[in-house]
Point group: C2
Chain length 352, copies 2
């Protein structure tokens, strides 16, 4: 663990969701908490890098819980807004742990002078997403900061679900890697906005955010295939590369994916090339990555596609145990092999 030096300050890259985020969290938090307080006994806590945490509740199984602060800019974008993102994002983190979401809490911090009709639109979008999901809103907070101290709005949501048996990410050798939809759609759209290029893409209807809750697609699969699902994660901050690298590193595995099979739409490829960003580093907000036993992989793919996720693909597999360090490899379209690195540095701030 890298010790942070005296006099250092927080960088934008510390918030990118990749190795720099792990570094600062290790330094200020994880390394300072004694082992027994890193989880509730029998559950999952900060000792395991996953989308959420679990608390055992006897015969009912586990409470699954996840919290995230949403700071995306722009607040409104094709396909959604910060309200939909704040609902779907935390719901998906519970779903990825195998939890059935039942409730959400929201804490809103907004600047003085924020337009109330914009706030209403955001909340309507938040509420309608919860309504579709039948997730209750059971509590929250509301604070206002002077305009000198905050520009815009931050929504922190905590989603709570129940799981008979949570999915704790442990990909196994031989597993197939499935992604449930086209990747990087949300990330490339927001990147274009951040760079002032939205007219080129979003507004012309070529791109829109993929933000959506995944419960109805994934919970039936998780229920049916149970212990044959070895890992599930949504590739938000840091994209597919971050998810696969975390899996590979933590479990000392060689994961190999095939570039040709990665579902990326043509405008996404075009704009990531234009921006010089690797699409595997860019966020999706309505896609899952699964690591499932080979014996059921085709069947699961088939069911996902039949149930509406027609772009789902098998993109690779867990090849073998690593001798030294876990690593992610990719067979490139032109026949070679390259290492898929996790994102480093300040990529695209404020995508979620």
């Amino acid at each position: 663990m890298k010790i942070l030096e005296e006099g250092k300050t927080v960088k934008l890259s510390h918030g990118n969701g990749g190795p720099e985020t792990s570094e600062i969290l290790n330094s200020i938090l994880f390394s300072k908490v004694e082992e027994t307080l890193k989880r509730v006994e029998g559950g999952v806590g900060i000792d395991v890098l996953d989308d959420g945490a679990t608390i055992p509740i006897g015969d009912l199984g586990y409470v699954v819980i996840s919290t995230d602060s949403y700071t995306v800019k722009p607040l409104f974008f094709p396909g959604g807004d910060i309200g939909k993102l704040a609902a779907a994002g935390s719901i998906n983190d519970v779903v990825m742990m195998g939890g059935r979401p039942v409730a959400i809490l929201d804490s809103i911090v907004v600047q003085e002078g924020f337009e109330i009709n914009e706030l209403e639109k955001i909340m309507e979008s938040f509420i309608s997403t919860l309504k579709e999901e039948k997730v209750s809103i059971i509590g929250g907070d509301f604070k206002v900061l002077p305009r000198e101290e905050l520009d815009g709005i931050i929504i922190t949501t905590t989603a709570i679900g129940i799981a008979k048996k949570p999915i704790i990410d442990r990909p196994k050798v031989g597993d197939k890697i499935i992604v449930t939809g086209n990747l990087a759609e949300h990330g490339v759209l927001i990147s274009l906005y951040r760079l002032g290029l939205e007219d080129k893409a979003g507004n012309a209807g070529l791109l829109q955010s993929d933000v959506m809750p995944l419960s109805k697609y994934l919970l039936p699969i998780f229920e049916k295939y149970g212990e044959k699902i070895n890992a599930a994660r949504d590739p938000t901050r840091g994209g597919l590369s971050e998810v696969l690298n975390e899996w590979a590193l933590q479990n000392k595995l060689i994961i190999e994916i095939d570039e040709k099979s990665i579902p990326l739409r043509e405008p996404v490829v075009k704009y990531t090339e234009m921006l010089g960003i690797d699409p595997l580093h860019l966020a999706s907000e309505g896609v899952a990555v699964l690591s499932v036993e080979e014996s059921v992989s085709e069947e699961i793919l088939d069911e996902l596609q039949k149930n509406g996720l027609s772009d789902a693909k098998i993109i690779g597999e867990v090849k073998k145990e690593a001798k030294e360090m876990g690593i992610v490899l990719m067979k490139t379209a032109i026949g070679g092999r390259r290492v898929v690195e996790p994102p480093r540095g300040e990529l695209v701030p404020r995508i979620c």
Copy 2:
């Protein structure tokens, strides 16, 4: 319900925790959520104004959960800092519902350029409070915003506890009102800082924040007296007047308190007079207000005092049912009676 007009903007007063906060939340949220989605079936949600929410979990009772965003400035103050406040504040909200806190999640949003050694101090204080309470930290989020968009740090914590039988605030006629310590200590200290007057008070050692977790003082009382505790709340934003007014209004009660018996230390009285602020509107962060059956009130007071809360006092009672609207009255020190209004307007921003 007052409908917010087109073109209006969010005011600082919307975040004061009083009637204006209720107004805006009614307008943008509560009135838009269908009844069945205001709670998890069998639990408490946004349909009840209380410190937290509950979710039934079978034989074990209920999960109690509460979330709050901490935005206090200054970040460091005599008696604590934003880290201790973020831990104690959400823990206390779970305790006030009768829950035994078991876990917390924290979501940190910090500005680019924030000093890492300040962040470390804040996290050390956060962690040491959790350690004393034996509360596990099980998850969270970390985001960095550019300095143009955020000044400082916002910490949102969600605390989770378990309660066999939660305390849902329903004060009853005949109940005695107990406060467990000197009031307004946190609020007056932060007010002086906000006005640039900290040299007068805090730095001279006259005042310090009362921020502390209340679990060890209150959970044994709640366990012992069970259903004889009819309500429990911590008077944070909006102070004692907000808690009592909410109780009176929601339950259509006349609550009467006695000015002479309200525990306020001399420097607190002096500085609130100087500032022209009613101390009953100012926050405490380590005090509870209880509404308990008269038959056990003296005994409870005695136990609180013996266990270290030596300033605890009985300050009044639930007089009778209101014919029209619930109201809070106070016998003044000079023998009259006045209505205790809830705080309105922008009082003291950023106290929590």
